[in-house]
């Protein structure tokens, strides 16, 4: 790669003749933003150039990949007389030509539009095209850091600097490459900057006044990104700016520690502990935080906790890197990548635990393209056949045959039926074809949109993504544009040899140029930002009937078909005209049910089908139910079609903000809100693999098996006193015996036994001693299957070589529903 600094013209050149009026100087294309580029992902490129003219100029700087020469991305620039300017624009990198490709070869041009006529600009050497190559990022997750631009840390603190610390954690996960620094002093005001990232770590305050950059980060997190904030290195102001009204974190004070102790927090799935005596103190920030899940504490204060933010997750650590690592010794095992891929520090198990959760790939877009396309086709195609007319033609044809048969029979010409029927069939078919042809040519221009709308919690911002289908009867230049950021990517089939361009003229403002649309249907994928007057939110609380709450949406969207996606299932939601909603405990949807209506209309069927293809919620979002509601499409400042009708729907995912009911309120918590996992029991019985949390499935077994299962009550409700629990088992295969027990202190108390259980079984527990919640807000049950001392068919197979296929058993599902009462908080 060649990077040429701007240089002053040598003195001798001052006497040269004036440059041509379309001349530019020192054009340079360089990496911007993360500096890492991935195929089919957006990134940011930086352009800088000089205007040597004595007058201002209006330019268009475009860049394209050499293997996609007709697809350009550009930036309109204004430059005053005799100036040099640095600007940037998003660009989507092309797919790789082959897997071994290591560079994106790019070419840029500058078009001068000052005189109203477009003319290519040349530099002082006559060159009109400028080539540059950007490295293809390794095929691995990408992490970016925001750190201080200078190394003026307080002397004596932090022998592990943030880069080294994050690197240690990444290498521990076997991630060897793709760690980059966001070095621009002002972040490009564009979410596309972050499209290639899976994770972002903020260890500096320098973006605290960069509102546009912070807004881009917020949207990126809300759409599924992972953000790590090192609170010991940022101010509370930055936390507040990032989290908006979702920020319920307050700083108490800061202290330097020379002795650190990390303990497992209430929500940690580990019992890890890590202590260090430090010669160089480490900064610790005492924070008070709510609505979070604490993985580790230090002296009772949160040391690492998670917050859900839309569909993303935020990790906040409050203690400096030295508390999480220690110097590597020769006896330590190497990092997964080998001795050449490790730092001088060895991560604690606590850090490994955090890294395991943090360094995961970013989730794919929610709306599956195939299903969205199908839905769009149906939306547009639905207008084509008039069902009544079609049915009428077919009914007429069907009823005419017997009538004609009777008439011909009376005339003794029944044999003519063999001729009449084909003629009638041809006629009916011809009429239907003519109807279809007629409908097709008279369909108005239509744009059909399927959107996924994600509100950014705590703000008035939203993010939309999805697919649009533009049906047009005549050729036109595609009028695709937007002013809320984002992008649109129309399918380009048939236009490979036509120059088309996506050009930005300002922050969040772009348009497609030179892009022709031929008659027919063309798909356009898109992603945009937007702002609404009032934050979109769903506030809910549990009560004696289930869940009730209030949904705030912009007016005129006709919300309907709402569902709560909870950790362990879906619940149908009733929307009321005043914005309230209710989800009854009895409205739990079956595994193949996605909407609560009994009889589904065509539109509901389409919606249901699309929702059936949505990815399952990630495990980490166990405690963050989402209200998903269908509305009409949202107008977010994009232009998709010149004229014609626009139809479509939007699926809005609104993370539910829970309010804790007043003390004394009775409530019922139904199964989907009670996630569970297999745990070590109070009697010391370790997990035996009865339930696989990763795949969320019960394991297929033979013979006997036992295990303790802990159901977690939502943290926002604690403390709660349970009054009853109903456990439901759905059994597959021969179990011989099923016993349900509870935990009474450290002992097991048998509650119910079934012999030869079959189908669906229920047990109600009302004994308060076994319903007591542990310190993590869980109640435990023990499941024992089979008859002890009976030969295990698996063992028999080992000796006889034969396995009875009928001896496997499995739980299809186990769920709980509890009732209880809210207790006063201490």
């Amino acid at each position: 790669m060649l990077f040429v600094h701007s240089v002053d013209l040598p003195a001798w050149s001052q006497d040269q003749p004036a440059s041509p009026s379309n001349a530019i100087e020192n054009f340079n294309l360089s990496t911007g933003g993360t500096g890492l580029y991935r195929p089919d992902k957006w990134g940011v490129v930086k352009v800088s150039l000089r205007n040597p003219q004595q007058h201002e100029v209006h330019l268009l700087a475009t860049t394209h990949a050499l293997n996609e020469p007709t697809l350009q991305y550009g930036r309109r620039l204004w430059m005053p007389a005799r100036s040099q300017l640095t600007s940037w624009n998003p660009m989507r990198m092309p797919p790789l030509d082959h897997p071994q490709q290591t560079q994106f070869d790019l070419r840029s041009m500058v078009i001068n539009r000052s005189s109203g006529v477009e003319a290519m600009s040349a530099n002082e050497f006559g060159a009109m095209q400028f080539d540059q190559s950007f490295r293809v990022a390794a095929d691995e997750q990408v992490t970016a850091l925001i750190v201080d631009r200078s190394n003026d840390q307080t002397p004596g603190l932090l022998s592990t600097d943030p880069q080294e610390f994050v690197l240690t954690a990444r290498l521990d996960r076997g991630l060897k490459y793709n760690l980059t620094i966001l070095g621009d002093p002002l972040l490009p005001a564009s979410e596309e900057l972050l499209d290639a990232l899976d994770h972002l770590v903020i260890a500096s305050n320098r973006i605290v006044t960069d509102a546009a950059g912070i807004s881009a980060i917020r949207r990126w997190v809300a759409s599924g990104g992972r953000l790590w904030i090192m609170a010991d290195m940022v101010s509370p102001t930055l936390l507040a700016a990032l989290l908006g009204d979702d920020d319920n974190i307050t700083e108490v004070n800061r202290v330097d520690l020379t002795s650190t102790h990390l303990d497992a927090g209430a929500w940690s799935l580990s019992e890890l502990r890590f202590t260090r005596e430090l010669e160089r103190p480490v900064r610790f920030v005492r924070l008070v935080a709510e609505d979070h899940q604490t993985d580790f504490t230090s002296d009772g204060w949160p040391a690492a906790f998670w917050k859900n933010h839309g569909e993303g997750r935020i990790l906040v650590t409050t203690i400096g890197g030295d508390a999480w690592v220690r110097p590597r010794t020769p006896s330590d095992p190497p990092a997964p990548g080998g001795v050449s891929m490790q730092t001088q520090f060895f991560p604690s198990e606590s850090l490994s635990y955090l890294a395991l959760q943090f360094f995961t790939p970013r989730a794919a877009p929610l709306i599956p393209r195939v299903q969205a396309e199908e839905q769009i086709r149906q939306l547009i195609g639905y207008a084509i056949p008039d069902r009544t007319l079609t049915v009428g033609i077919l009914a007429g044809f069907t009823s005419l045959i017997p009538l004609l048969a009777i008439w011909l029979a009376r005339r003794g010409r029944l044999e003519w039926l063999g001729l009449v029927i084909p003629v009638l069939s041809l006629g009916a078919a011809g009429m239907l074809m003519a109807l279809g042809w007629n409908s097709r040519t008279t369909i108005p221009a239509t744009t059909a949109i399927i959107q996924h709308v994600q509100p950014v919690p705590g703000t008035e911002e939203i993010r939309t993504s999805g697919l649009a289908g533009i049906f047009t009867n005549e050729s036109q230049v595609a009028p695709l544009s937007g002013n809320q950021g984002g992008w649109m990517s129309p399918s380009m089939s048939g236009f490979e040899s036509t120059t088309r361009r996506m050009a930005w003229s300002d922050i969040d403002t772009w348009s497609w140029e030179l892009l022709p649309f031929t008659p027919g249907l063309r798909m356009v994928s898109f992603q945009t930002g937007g702002r609404v007057d009032e934050p979109v939110e769903a506030v809910a609380e549990f009560d004696a009937r289930g869940v009730s709450g209030k949904l705030t949406l912009p007016a005129g969207l006709a919300p309907g078909d709402a569902v709560i996606i909870a950790p362990r299932g879906r619940i149908g939601v009733q929307l009321h005209p005043d914005g309230r909603f209710t989800a009854a405990a009895s409205a739990v949807l079956g595994p193949d049910q996605y909407l609560s209506a009994n009889v589904l209309s065509d539109e509901q069927q389409r919606r249901s089908q699309l929702m059936s293809q949505l990815p399952a919620p990630p495990l980490e979002n166990l405690f963050s139910p989402v209200l998903m509601v269908w509305t009409r499409y949202w107008d977010v400042g994009t232009s998709l079609g010149r004229d014609g009708q626009t139809v479509g729907s939007a699926l809005v995912s609104v993370p539910i903000r829970w309010q804790r009911p007043a003390a004394g309120t009775p409530l019922v918590i139904t199964g989907p809100f009670l996630p569970f996992r297999e745990v070590e029991g109070p009697d010391g019985l370790p997990p035996k693999g009865l339930y696989d949390r990763r795949s969320a499935r019960w394991t297929e077994k033979t013979g006997t098996a036992e295990g303790w299962v802990a159901f977690s009550v939502p943290a926002d409700l604690l403390p709660v006193e349970l009054t009853s629990a109903t456990i439901t088992f759905k059994v597959l295969g021969p179990m011989r015996r099923l016993e349900l027990s509870g935990a009474n202190g450290s002992t097991r108390q048998s509650l119910k036994t079934w012999d030869s259980p079959v189908g669906t079984l229920r047990a109600e527990i009302t004994d308060p001693t076994v319903l007591k919640l542990d310190s993590r807000g869980r109640f435990l049950i023990r499941i024992d299957v089979g008859i002890p001392d009976e030969p295990d068919p698996a063992t028999t197979q080992l000796t006889t070589g034969k396995m009875d296929p009928q001896s496997y058993w499995q739980f299809e599902d186990v769920s709980a529903q509890v009732t209880g009462q809210i207790q006063k908080r201490q």
């Binding site: 500096g35 100036s83 080294e164 546009a212 010669e279 922050i507």
Partner: protein
Amino acid sequence: MCEFPIRDTALPPWMGGLRSQRIFVIAIVLTAVLVSTARAQDIPQIFLMDREPAERPLPSSYFIHPELIPMWRQALSQPESELQRQAAEALVEAHALGHDGMRAAVPELLAVLKSKTVHPAARHAAAHALIALDVRSAADRLFEASQDGGKDLRQLIEPALANWDFELIRPVWRQRVQSITTPRRDLILAIRGLGQQRDAQALKSLLGLALTPENSADIRLAAARAAGQIAPEGLETQAETLIAARNCVLNRLCAVALITRHTSERAIALNQSLGMDAEPGVAVEALRSLFALDPRLVLPLAEMAINHPDAGIRRIGIETYVTLPTPERMQTLSARLNDPHPQLRKLVRDKFLALSQEPTLEPTIRQSTIAVLAGDDWRGQEQASLLLGDLDEESVTARLLELLDSARPEVMLAAAMGLKSIAAPDSAMPVLAFAQRRTEAAGFTPLTDTQLAHLFELLGLLKTTEAMPLMEIYIPKTRKYRGFSRAAAIWALGLMQEGQTNERLASQLLERATDTRSSPAEDFYVRRASVLTLGRLRASPQLPGLKSLIGDQIDNNLMDLTVRWSILQITGEALPMRPPHTMRRTGWFLEPLPREKQELKEPD
């Protein structure tokens, strides 16, 4: 003329492509270097040779192109929000770098702020610039913009208005704290603003927020702090009630916050009780309040505080004792020379040095420090070595000589520095023997290099001519001996031979001084020390060689100034100096092209 990029700390883009592959290597190398030398650098290493010559280079000055601000103003007037945003932020940065004239852009900034059609990012940047430029006359416009410009803008503007004591916003804030539907961020802004402006009218509402258990912790704590800022008295009952109602950390934090300005006996007693709280986060706040009122209020708790596990609490205890010093307290405090926190033990050392001027305290300080030096704790040995060196305590010379062999790098170096400060004549021969041993031993680490540099300086001060043969070993460039020790040896030779002719030595030193083209080139410290010593030797035959190091004028850098000094010693001639560099800051997002070379000079 130089052009100085303003963003010289960012890696150039061409390296970005290889960054992720190299970063682990860089990390390993850096860590290795840091681990080996970091501790040595916790205490700044002060060399006497660095103080010569007395004349220091003047700092370079920077200017910006005279057309830069007009160009940014043009950009602000363009309809493109991105240009406006960049221009506004550039104004902030230029102002922060100390350049004047940014206020000329205020009209354009106000226009952007007022506009409803520009992108919110541009309005935010304009507001940021107005605040950074402290344009208080724009407070009204900023207030208007904050109320219709969204949460991000309020987050930026309202704290500034609070700082400026802007009164028109108070009714808005009061309304917010009274309404139960106020969004969280707006509520926190209002609470903090009212507290900062000490708005007594809001006290009741703030207390309501602070004392309602159902409110979230952040709201309660912010409200309690604000109420405490407002009320200098009268909240003792509420504080006591909070603690009595539910003994949780949050309640105690709120209680401390409420009475932070209170001076009543009751409040003081409450704070003193909270100063002993089991939760350090609470105790430190209570102690801070007491200390701010009157350090004497902390005295009953000071001894506990000084020995507390929490560094923040220990600091308050230390500050109390040094503010109200007595010999007994100094005795107690001497144990903190061993404090695990480096800043605290340095604090004690610095204060001891200052307080040793008091005749009533000096003996105790000395004796207690001597006792620490004799102890086993390396931290105490380190601090005591430096302190006793500054106090010129000759009686500890033997102990310092022992500590030269310490296993701890900090102590090794501190002992050497201490010996140098004391410069006792009878330490010369033991130091020489030690230096001889170190020179002959295998392995010459950066720590050895630094330690020997201090010891050679000591021998130079004592004019220990017996050390000359040893020091001459360090003159040639070798793989074994490093820059500091070599430079110090050469410098010390100069002190010992001052005014004497030594042609052999002078030739050697001129070679070192002019060795700039070999690979590797001579160490800068060694070159400079060689030049200094040539001056001391009055080495006239080496004059042409010295003059070859400079141009026709002396540049404003350390080497040229050293050569100038040396020539002055030899010939008595003070060579003329070039004025300090002035450099134009470049690298802005938008900047003018220079028209002619004359433009690159600083404007008159």
